[in-house]
Symmetry: C2
Subunit: 157 residues, 2 copies
Protein backbone atom coordinates (compact mmCIF):
# COMPACT_ATOMS: atom_id res chain seq x y z
CA UNK A 1 0.00 0.00 0.00
CA UNK A 2 1.43 3.40 -0.96
CA UNK A 3 2.26 5.67 1.94
CA UNK A 4 3.85 9.03 2.51
CA UNK A 5 5.88 10.05 5.52
CA UNK A 6 4.56 13.15 7.28
CA UNK A 7 6.51 15.63 9.34
CA UNK A 8 6.22 13.50 12.47
CA UNK A 9 6.87 10.22 10.64
CA UNK A 10 3.25 9.09 10.82
CA UNK A 11 2.51 7.17 7.66
CA UNK A 12 -0.64 8.23 5.86
CA UNK A 13 -2.11 5.76 3.43
CA UNK A 14 -4.03 6.39 0.25
CA UNK A 15 -7.16 4.91 1.82
CA UNK A 16 -6.97 7.22 4.85
CA UNK A 17 -6.56 10.30 2.67
CA UNK A 18 -9.33 9.29 0.28
CA UNK A 19 -11.70 8.60 3.19
CA UNK A 20 -10.93 12.00 4.72
CA UNK A 21 -11.53 13.84 1.45
CA UNK A 22 -14.76 12.00 0.72
CA UNK A 23 -16.07 12.51 4.25
CA UNK A 24 -15.19 16.20 4.56
CA UNK A 25 -15.68 17.51 1.00
CA UNK A 26 -18.90 16.13 -0.51
CA UNK A 27 -18.20 17.48 -3.99
CA UNK A 28 -15.31 15.00 -4.27
CA UNK A 29 -17.85 12.18 -3.94
CA UNK A 30 -19.98 13.68 -6.71
CA UNK A 31 -16.85 13.87 -8.89
CA UNK A 32 -15.85 10.28 -7.94
CA UNK A 33 -12.37 11.53 -7.00
CA UNK A 34 -9.89 8.80 -6.06
CA UNK A 35 -6.43 9.07 -4.55
CA UNK A 36 -4.32 6.83 -6.77
CA UNK A 37 -0.76 7.81 -5.91
CA UNK A 38 0.98 9.07 -2.77
CA UNK A 39 4.69 8.71 -2.35
CA UNK A 40 7.94 10.66 -2.24
CA UNK A 41 7.34 11.93 -5.80
CA UNK A 42 4.01 13.56 -4.97
CA UNK A 43 0.29 12.87 -5.07
CA UNK A 44 -2.10 11.75 -7.81
CA UNK A 45 -5.87 12.19 -7.85
CA UNK A 46 -8.02 10.55 -10.53
CA UNK A 47 -11.55 11.22 -11.75
CA UNK A 48 -13.74 9.53 -14.37
CA UNK A 49 -15.13 11.55 -17.25
CA UNK A 50 -18.82 10.74 -16.86
CA UNK A 51 -19.71 12.66 -13.65
CA UNK A 52 -17.40 15.46 -14.81
CA UNK A 53 -18.60 15.83 -18.38
CA UNK A 54 -19.67 19.06 -20.07
CA UNK A 55 -21.91 19.96 -23.00
CA UNK A 56 -19.10 19.24 -25.48
CA UNK A 57 -18.62 15.69 -24.19
CA UNK A 58 -15.27 16.58 -22.64
CA UNK A 59 -14.22 17.26 -19.05
CA UNK A 60 -15.85 20.29 -17.44
CA UNK A 61 -13.33 23.06 -16.75
CA UNK A 62 -14.69 23.30 -13.21
CA UNK A 63 -13.82 19.65 -12.59
CA UNK A 64 -10.33 20.18 -14.03
CA UNK A 65 -9.75 23.26 -11.87
CA UNK A 66 -11.08 21.40 -8.83
CA UNK A 67 -8.94 18.29 -9.28
CA UNK A 68 -5.78 20.35 -9.81
CA UNK A 69 -6.45 22.66 -6.86
CA UNK A 70 -7.36 19.72 -4.63
CA UNK A 71 -4.20 17.80 -5.56
CA UNK A 72 -2.02 20.58 -4.13
CA UNK A 73 -4.15 20.93 -1.04
CA UNK A 74 -4.19 17.18 -0.42
CA UNK A 75 -0.42 16.89 -0.81
CA UNK A 76 0.24 19.66 1.73
CA UNK A 77 -2.49 18.38 4.05
CA UNK A 78 -0.70 15.04 4.04
CA UNK A 79 2.89 16.27 4.26
CA UNK A 80 2.01 18.56 7.18
CA UNK A 81 -0.21 15.91 8.84
CA UNK A 82 -2.90 18.60 9.04
CA UNK A 83 -5.72 16.30 10.18
CA UNK A 84 -3.81 15.47 13.39
CA UNK A 85 -2.02 18.79 13.96
CA UNK A 86 -5.02 20.98 13.14
CA UNK A 87 -3.02 23.09 10.68
CA UNK A 88 -5.23 24.79 8.13
CA UNK A 89 -4.16 24.59 4.49
CA UNK A 90 -5.89 26.77 1.88
CA UNK A 91 -5.14 27.88 -1.67
CA UNK A 92 -4.69 31.66 -1.89
CA UNK A 93 -4.19 32.10 -5.62
CA UNK A 94 -3.67 30.02 -8.71
CA UNK A 95 -2.96 30.28 -12.37
CA UNK A 96 -4.70 27.65 -14.48
CA UNK A 97 -3.85 26.91 -18.09
CA UNK A 98 -6.08 24.65 -20.17
CA UNK A 99 -4.12 23.43 -23.19
CA UNK A 100 -6.21 20.55 -24.58
CA UNK A 101 -9.73 19.21 -24.25
CA UNK A 102 -9.96 16.14 -22.00
CA UNK A 103 -11.94 13.42 -23.74
CA UNK A 104 -11.64 10.63 -21.17
CA UNK A 105 -10.85 9.84 -17.55
CA UNK A 106 -8.20 12.14 -16.13
CA UNK A 107 -5.82 12.60 -13.24
CA UNK A 108 -4.03 15.47 -11.51
CA UNK A 109 -0.44 15.01 -10.39
CA UNK A 110 1.02 17.41 -7.84
CA UNK A 111 4.77 17.10 -7.48
CA UNK A 112 6.34 17.00 -4.03
CA UNK A 113 7.87 20.48 -3.53
CA UNK A 114 11.00 18.99 -1.94
CA UNK A 115 11.85 18.52 1.71
CA UNK A 116 13.66 21.88 1.84
CA UNK A 117 10.37 23.64 1.02
CA UNK A 118 8.52 21.61 3.65
CA UNK A 119 11.23 22.36 6.23
CA UNK A 120 11.01 26.10 5.40
CA UNK A 121 7.25 25.89 5.84
CA UNK A 122 7.63 24.23 9.23
CA UNK A 123 10.14 26.89 10.33
CA UNK A 124 7.87 29.74 9.20
CA UNK A 125 4.97 28.14 11.07
CA UNK A 126 7.04 27.92 14.25
CA UNK A 127 8.34 31.49 13.94
CA UNK A 128 5.30 33.30 12.57
CA UNK A 129 2.34 30.96 12.86
CA UNK A 130 1.79 31.01 9.13
CA UNK A 131 3.56 30.09 5.91
CA UNK A 132 3.08 30.11 2.15
CA UNK A 133 4.24 27.51 -0.30
CA UNK A 134 4.14 27.31 -4.10
CA UNK A 135 3.08 24.11 -5.85
CA UNK A 136 2.72 22.96 -9.43
CA UNK A 137 0.25 20.36 -10.64
CA UNK A 138 -0.44 18.88 -14.05
CA UNK A 139 -3.55 17.27 -15.44
CA UNK A 140 -3.28 14.27 -17.75
CA UNK A 141 -5.56 12.20 -19.93
CA UNK A 142 -3.44 9.08 -20.40
CA UNK A 143 0.03 10.35 -21.23
CA UNK A 144 -1.20 13.67 -22.64
CA UNK A 145 -0.90 16.76 -20.48
CA UNK A 146 -4.06 18.85 -20.82
CA UNK A 147 -3.90 21.51 -18.09
CA UNK A 148 -1.59 22.94 -15.45
CA UNK A 149 -1.89 24.76 -12.14
CA UNK A 150 0.62 27.02 -10.48
CA UNK A 151 -0.75 27.64 -7.04
CA UNK A 152 0.15 29.33 -3.80
CA UNK A 153 -1.15 27.75 -0.62
CA UNK A 154 -1.26 29.27 2.85
CA UNK A 155 -0.71 27.22 5.99
CA UNK A 156 -1.98 28.56 9.31
CA UNK A 157 -1.68 27.28 12.88
Amino acid sequence: MSKIVCGDKKQVTIDELESYIHREIPLTRAMHVRVTGLDEAGLTLAAPLEPNINDKGTAFAGSIATLLTLSGWALLHTLLDAERTGLRVAVTDSRLTYTRPVAGDFRAVCAHPGMDAIDSTQHALTAQGKARIALQAHLFEGDTMCATLEGTYAVLI
Copy 2:
Protein backbone atom coordinates in the same frame (compact mmCIF):
# COMPACT_ATOMS: atom_id res chain seq x y z
CA MET B 1 -38.54 37.14 -15.96
CA SER B 2 -34.96 38.28 -16.51
CA LYS B 3 -33.71 37.93 -20.04
CA ILE B 4 -30.64 38.80 -22.02
CA VAL B 5 -30.56 39.73 -25.68
CA CYS B 6 -28.24 37.55 -27.76
CA GLY B 7 -26.49 38.48 -30.96
CA ASP B 8 -29.50 37.62 -33.10
CA LYS B 9 -32.01 39.22 -30.70
CA LYS B 10 -33.24 35.88 -29.37
CA GLN B 11 -34.07 36.34 -25.73
CA VAL B 12 -32.64 33.74 -23.40
CA THR B 13 -34.26 33.39 -20.02
CA ILE B 14 -32.75 32.40 -16.72
CA ASP B 15 -34.79 29.20 -16.70
CA GLU B 16 -33.57 28.17 -20.16
CA LEU B 17 -29.94 28.75 -19.23
CA GLU B 18 -30.26 26.96 -15.90
CA SER B 19 -31.95 23.98 -17.56
CA TYR B 20 -29.19 23.78 -20.17
CA ILE B 21 -26.42 23.91 -17.56
CA HIS B 22 -28.08 21.30 -15.34
CA ARG B 23 -28.79 18.97 -18.27
CA GLU B 24 -25.35 19.18 -19.87
CA ILE B 25 -22.99 19.57 -16.89
CA PRO B 26 -23.97 17.14 -14.10
CA LEU B 27 -21.54 18.62 -11.58
CA THR B 28 -23.67 21.78 -11.53
CA ARG B 29 -26.56 19.70 -10.20
CA ALA B 30 -24.35 18.26 -7.45
CA MET B 31 -23.34 21.83 -6.55
CA HIS B 32 -26.99 23.02 -6.69
CA VAL B 33 -25.96 25.87 -9.00
CA ARG B 34 -28.71 28.31 -9.87
CA VAL B 35 -28.80 31.13 -12.41
CA THR B 36 -30.09 34.08 -10.42
CA GLY B 37 -29.29 37.07 -12.62
CA LEU B 38 -29.03 37.61 -16.36
CA ASP B 39 -29.33 41.07 -17.83
CA GLU B 40 -27.35 43.82 -19.55
CA ALA B 41 -25.05 44.11 -16.51
CA GLY B 42 -23.95 40.49 -16.65
CA LEU B 43 -24.72 37.10 -15.17
CA THR B 44 -25.00 35.79 -11.62
CA LEU B 45 -24.76 32.17 -10.50
CA ALA B 46 -25.55 31.14 -6.93
CA ALA B 47 -24.70 28.05 -4.88
CA PRO B 48 -25.55 26.99 -1.33
CA LEU B 49 -22.78 26.21 1.13
CA GLU B 50 -23.83 22.72 2.18
CA PRO B 51 -23.10 20.69 -0.98
CA ASN B 52 -19.97 22.80 -1.49
CA ILE B 53 -18.53 22.63 2.02
CA ASN B 54 -14.97 21.65 2.95
CA ASP B 55 -13.29 20.25 6.04
CA LYS B 56 -13.06 23.73 7.60
CA GLY B 57 -16.84 24.31 7.30
CA THR B 58 -16.32 26.93 4.57
CA ALA B 59 -16.77 26.77 0.81
CA PHE B 60 -14.48 24.33 -1.00
CA ALA B 61 -11.97 26.13 -3.23
CA GLY B 62 -12.94 23.78 -6.06
CA SER B 63 -16.55 24.94 -5.85
CA ILE B 64 -15.43 28.58 -5.82
CA ALA B 65 -13.17 28.07 -8.84
CA THR B 66 -15.95 26.20 -10.61
CA LEU B 67 -18.66 28.81 -10.01
CA LEU B 68 -16.40 31.66 -11.13
CA THR B 69 -15.18 29.84 -14.25
CA LEU B 70 -18.72 28.74 -15.11
CA SER B 71 -20.09 32.27 -14.73
CA GLY B 72 -17.83 33.53 -17.52
CA TRP B 73 -18.58 30.56 -19.74
CA ALA B 74 -22.34 30.89 -19.20
CA LEU B 75 -22.31 34.61 -19.96
CA LEU B 76 -20.48 34.11 -23.27
CA HIS B 77 -22.56 31.04 -24.10
CA THR B 78 -25.65 33.21 -23.72
CA LEU B 79 -24.37 36.38 -25.40
CA LEU B 80 -23.19 34.37 -28.43
CA ASP B 81 -26.31 32.16 -28.45
CA ALA B 82 -23.96 29.18 -28.54
CA GLU B 83 -26.63 26.52 -28.02
CA ARG B 84 -28.34 27.50 -31.27
CA THR B 85 -25.32 28.56 -33.32
CA GLY B 86 -23.10 25.64 -32.27
CA LEU B 87 -20.25 27.95 -31.30
CA ARG B 88 -17.92 26.36 -28.77
CA VAL B 89 -16.89 28.45 -25.77
CA ALA B 90 -14.08 27.24 -23.50
CA VAL B 91 -11.85 28.82 -20.86
CA THR B 92 -8.18 28.77 -21.89
CA ASP B 93 -6.54 30.26 -18.82
CA SER B 94 -7.49 31.93 -15.60
CA ARG B 95 -6.05 33.63 -12.58
CA LEU B 96 -7.95 32.97 -9.38
CA THR B 97 -7.45 34.92 -6.17
CA TYR B 98 -9.04 33.74 -2.93
CA THR B 99 -9.13 36.64 -0.49
CA ARG B 100 -11.49 35.50 2.29
CA PRO B 101 -13.04 32.24 3.50
CA VAL B 102 -16.68 31.81 2.42
CA ALA B 103 -18.79 30.84 5.42
CA GLY B 104 -22.24 30.79 3.80
CA ASP B 105 -24.11 30.60 0.52
CA PHE B 106 -22.26 32.37 -2.28
CA ARG B 107 -22.63 33.72 -5.78
CA ALA B 108 -20.39 34.50 -8.74
CA VAL B 109 -21.02 37.64 -10.76
CA CYS B 110 -19.49 37.93 -14.23
CA ALA B 111 -19.73 41.42 -15.67
CA HIS B 112 -20.85 41.94 -19.26
CA PRO B 113 -17.66 42.73 -21.19
CA GLY B 114 -19.43 45.44 -23.21
CA MET B 115 -21.01 45.27 -26.63
CA ASP B 116 -17.78 46.46 -28.29
CA ALA B 117 -16.01 43.35 -27.01
CA ILE B 118 -18.87 41.12 -28.21
CA ASP B 119 -18.85 42.85 -31.63
CA SER B 120 -15.07 42.32 -31.87
CA THR B 121 -15.57 38.66 -31.01
CA GLN B 122 -18.22 38.29 -33.72
CA HIS B 123 -15.95 39.97 -36.28
CA ALA B 124 -12.98 37.73 -35.36
CA LEU B 125 -15.23 34.68 -35.66
CA THR B 126 -16.36 35.74 -39.12
CA ALA B 127 -12.83 36.56 -40.30
CA GLN B 128 -10.80 33.82 -38.61
CA GLY B 129 -13.25 31.26 -37.26
CA LYS B 130 -12.01 31.82 -33.73
CA ALA B 131 -11.78 34.55 -31.12
CA ARG B 132 -10.59 35.18 -27.58
CA ILE B 133 -12.20 37.36 -24.98
CA ALA B 134 -11.18 38.39 -21.46
CA LEU B 135 -13.69 38.36 -18.62
CA GLN B 136 -13.66 39.20 -14.94
CA ALA B 137 -15.84 37.60 -12.31
CA HIS B 138 -16.18 38.14 -8.58
CA LEU B 139 -17.42 35.83 -5.87
CA PHE B 140 -19.49 37.19 -3.01
CA GLU B 141 -20.87 35.96 0.29
CA GLY B 142 -23.57 38.54 0.97
CA ASP B 143 -21.94 41.89 0.22
CA THR B 144 -18.40 40.65 0.93
CA MET B 145 -16.16 39.88 -2.01
CA CYS B 146 -14.22 36.68 -1.31
CA ALA B 147 -12.56 35.65 -4.60
CA THR B 148 -11.96 36.87 -8.13
CA LEU B 149 -11.31 35.37 -11.55
CA GLU B 150 -9.58 36.94 -14.50
CA GLY B 151 -10.15 34.55 -17.35
CA THR B 152 -9.55 34.24 -21.05
CA TYR B 153 -12.13 32.32 -23.05
CA ALA B 154 -11.80 30.97 -26.57
CA VAL B 155 -14.72 30.89 -28.99
CA LEU B 156 -14.57 28.54 -31.98
CA ILE B 157 -16.90 27.98 -34.91
